[in-house]
């Protein structure tokens, strides 16, 4: 297997995630797209970790890093959805475009 395959897969996933972040109006769907991005990153990490391990047996950095990313993603989704809930409670809508009070 080539390293390339996994990396390109990750890239595709990443770009689809980017598209989803920008194109979706619903806040929850934006968060879903962010999950895609995070997963793409994870694939990248694990692939490189495996490649590294193949060359240097004592090294598990890739997997560890991916675990951390998963944990962080979990935390982020938790807080993010809490925020979305709060916004929904106050505005009765989770249209991201409506949340622009920081506009200049």
């Amino acid at each position: 297997m080539f390293l390339n395959q996994f990396l390109i897969l990750a890239a595709i996933l990443f770009c689809i995630g980017v598209y989803g972040v920008i194109a979706r109006k619903n806040a929850v769907l934006v968060l879903l797209s962010i999950e895609l991005i995070l997963n793409a990153v994870n694939i990248n990490l694990v692939a490189f970790g495996a490649y590294w391990h193949a060359n240097d047996t004592a090294n598990m950095t890739g997997q560890v890093f991916a675990l951390f990313v998963i944990a962080v993603a979990a935390a982020e989704v938790g807080v993010g959805l809490a925020l979305v809930l709060l916004i929904y409670r106050n505005r009765q809508s989770i249209d991201i475009n409506d949340v622009d009070m920081l506009k200049g």
Partner: protein, 169 residues
């Protein structure tokens, strides 16, 4: 080795196709619930890919955390925000934004692919070997102890934060 490699390759491509398809459905369906469910497919596929890469612990962690907790969290979020069940036309931004997003995505993909193709074209994995969970835990608790602790604090903060934010008082 070739047979193993061939089987792995085929497995890889099938799973990759599923992932990509699922991802595309995530960002295009007009139903929030369906999007979440398509994400399940993506996440599952990603877990399978991890196994292909001989990272079993991560794959299991992925299944447990993502598929078990995060998706449930998303579903709760969908329910609590009373999004319209069924087809909802108002889930996408305007056409301009979508086209812009598409442009950006394609451009980014092109660039990344080009650079990957240019850079790591012929790199092979070699012998993946066995990556034991004990080695992972050894690594976590020795080399990456500090990040681990910080991560736990982070999770604590996120926990409390989410509770505080979503509290109804």
């Amino acid at each position: 080795m070739l047979a193993v490699l061939v089987a792995q390759n085929i497995a890889f491509y099938i799973i990759a196709a599923l992932i990509v398809f699922g991802a595309v459905r995530v960002v295009t369906v007009k139903n929030v619930m369906h999007a979440a469910l398509w994400l399940v497919l993506v996440l599952a596929g990603v877990a399978a890919q991890y196994i292909l890469l001989a990272a079993e612990f991560v794959a299991i962690a992925q299944v447990l955390v993502y598929l078990g907790a995060i998706i449930v969290l998303f579903l709760f979020g969908v329910m609590l925000t009373r999004t319209k069940a069924g087809i909802d036309e108002e889930l996408n931004n305007s056409k301009t934004m979508r086209i812009g997003a598409g442009v950006i995505g394609v451009a980014l993909l092109a660039l990344m692919t080009y650079s990957l193709w240019d850079g790591v074209r012929d790199t092979e994995f070699g012998n993946l070997g066995v990556q034991r969970t004990s080695e992972v835990s050894d690594s976590i608790f020795s080399t990456f102890l500090l990040p681990f602790e910080v991560l736990s604090v982070l999770l604590l903060a996120a926990l409390i934060g989410a509770v505080v934010i979503a509290r109804r008082d």
